[in-house]
Symmetry: C2
Subunit: 426 residues, 2 copies
């Protein structure tokens, strides 16, 4: 396989000379004497050359006190479609086509900002909790970090992820079509602990969460969710949050649409009714064919996508390939993923990588022999609540063409006889 | 709590001016109108100031196409004791005192190198498999990545971790004493798949694994382990391995001492007997009081450590604190962790963070009220095989004082009345 985006770093000058020499031998890598007498001739030729990285000591320990990816991986980065109409209001996508397993490395976790990334001094950051509470209070980060904590592995998905597949399925990359999606280990204080500290009035039914960014991003959260499993998160994949993910504090609502997990969280206000903020009236609602709109569509639906092979890759050889992808649901665990390689006529059950966690990305894999002809690859996820990922036509029949958010239909990739892969509906 | 190492980044000039102004108000952070009328006076004063990061848009999306930690976290890095006698042969430790949950961010995963970090071009890297096999073969990275893959979350620990606690318990940091320890999601090909490709002779009982670094680091692996759960790993926490962790390919042996998970793996040779390499004769053996040595001590024993509070922290206030730590065992899952705050007279069972995974770090937590007096904090792990972490005296009684590797005794931190924390045996 080859990644189309891959333009590997230039080797250093000494290595470049070595590359030219090595090419004459048909490739390199092994020390003399490495091979059994029965090895093929080309393999023995390869064994004659000792690569430069074996000839001399390498970079010292603590070369990088905080590590970075290899130079050869420099094209594995967040990307987006380009400039957005409003400064600061934009997103970037996770390179799903290059990732393995379920954990998204934090440096590649997608971004969605409404007014850019505020750089907040944690010593000066405060969280105010007020409204229908007995003891309104301002918390410092030290106050919060000192409280009882939990860690959970959960996916985070923007409700606009794959929104363009609805009317204009044009993405030529799974990073661009599905990359507003990541999965991390989140650590923080259960919101229920903080609410117990302040004392919730019995009539409080909603919590307004407000960010400290200059968009003052605000959403209303039902009290049931706040008490059930909402977290005030300060750490992600072991370390403190990064600035672009809400440093030093964010709300995290497992299974809910990403924008509600308010970043740079500075305020929680308890009230009787939803606060009808801009982000839940003008935005993040789903227009329906009859002119009405679905509002407060919090839960992310069951969904999956094949990340290999995807339009980002080219199949160079026939024969064995492992189809791999990700499945997830805001309703709970993934129960099953079926994969079709013939445009939906036949389906085979994929293998799910354990542990299959509640509202986390789940990696699925299926062995496949590519015969070199055209093929259409699709995955269909089913969650433990019994929800089945719909076909695009089924989704459109239910919700029309006017929505942008909460598109969760089955994605089809078309493999050409040349090994190139395209969006089957583009 | 305060991290002694923390020397926060200097704020930018505009922010510095703001800091001085803010200090006059007794702290800052909230927008006007943020507070209920019942809020305390200092809170209302704080609310008068809108912090600079709320006043103007922040950094743009894709500010960093590959993310990095916040500047304020710049002291959360790998560290070590300083120069080692041989160039390239050294280690660095994970800052356990600053981490949460169980996933170690890859940039902070500990290092142990025997001849520095080779920078390997993955297109030129090869893995040779030969010896007692039917079809000796050289694999490219493309060959390997194409094979069926699995992902597993496992700890990795250097067998020398905490070795200095044996004779000279002097570490003033849990990073230095216990930081040759990390936990990641590893993805790669089961070694059994590759062995099936080449056809193992019935008499093959050991596999020699060799690295492509200039130390040509080599260890012998029993065939049973190779077939059971050994992995040829190319990805760590979702992305390709970093250079310091074996890019582009390493062996990974769940539960075994770290040095056997050969990095930069270039060769596997199958034989009848262990290969008696330098690293399993002169090194990585455990001297006993009678002059003999334990050899091939592969499995890492059951172990735990309290990471908060640890000598890296200072307790500023009496009252509630959450004791947190990590437990792990090469024998399987952690069954229970007990914590003592009174030097071992009483023990309470800590809460284990789910999911508790096989041979992975397990986060434990226990609520504690510090009365402001001296205290001695200890944790004791028990694994599913029934192994109980020993006291230092018990370990010494069994193995004497001549060993360096496989020290797994209970660690005691002494809290002083001044809130400072020390190694209780130092």
């Amino acid at each position: 396989m080859t990644n189309k985006n891959e333009k590997n770093a230039q080797p250093q000058s000494g290595r470049r000379r070595f590359l030219r020499q090595g090419a004459g031998l048909g490739g390199v890598a092994l020390g003399a004497g490495a091979l059994a007498a029965g090895a093929p001739a080309t393999a023995r030729a390869e064994a004659l050359t000792v690569p430069p990285w074996t000839r001399a000591p390498g970079e010292p320990v603590l070369w990088r006190a905080y590590g970075r990816p290899a130079e050869f991986e420099k094209n594995v980065i967040r990307r987006n479609r380009g400039a957005a109409p409003m400064p600061g209001a934009n997103s970037s996508m996770t390179p799903l086509q290059d990732l393995r397993g379920i954990i998204t490395p934090t440096g590649l976790v997608f971004e969605r900002h409404h007014a850019g990334i505020p750089l907040i001094d944690p010593a000066l950051h405060r969280l105010a909790v007020h409204g229908l509470v007995d003891r309104p209070r301002i918390f410092t980060m030290d106050d919060l970090v000192r409280l009882p904590s939990v860690s959970r592995i959960h996916f985070l998905e923007c409700s606009g992820n794959t929104g363009r597949e609805w009317r204009a399925p044009s993405a030529t990359s799974v990073q661009i079509s599905h990359g507003l999606l990541s999965c991390c280990e989140w650590t923080g204080v259960p919101l229920s602990v903080v609410l117990e500290e302040v004392g919730v009035h019995p009539e409080a039914a909603w919590v307004l969460a407000e960010g400290a960014d200059s968009a003052a991003m605000t959403r209303s959260v039902p009290m049931a969710k706040a008490l059930e499993d909402a977290l005030l998160v300060y750490a992600q994949n072991g370390e403190m949050l990064r600035p672009e993910h809400g440093y030093p504090l964010r709300l995290f609502l497992p299974g809910f649409e990403g924008n509600m997990s308010i970043k740079w969280l500075r305020r929680l206000k308890l009230g009787r009714e939803p606060f009808m903020t801009r982000e839940e009236t003008a935005k993040y609602t789903d227009s329906l064919p009859d002119g009405s709109a679905r509002q407060f569509t919090f839960l992310m639906d069951v969904k999956s996508v094949i990340t290999f092979p995807a339009p980002d890759h080219v199949l160079r050889d026939r024969g064995f390939h492992e189809i791999a992808g990700l499945a997830w649901s805001g309703h709970g665990r993934i129960r099953r993923v079926d994969v079709s390689v013939d445009g939906g006529r036949g389906w085979r059950e994929a293998k799910l990588q354990a542990p299959v966690l509640d509202r986390a990305l789940t990696r699925f894999r299926l062995s496949w022999r590519w015969d070199g002809g055209p093929a259409v690859l699709q995955s269909r996820a089913i969650d433990e609540a019994g929800n089945v990922q719909p076909l695009p036509d089924q989704l459109v029949a239910a919700r029309g063409y006017e929505s942008t958010y909460h598109y969760n239909a089955i994605q089809a990739w078309r493999v050409g006889a040349d090994g190139r892969i395209a969006n089957a509906r583009a």
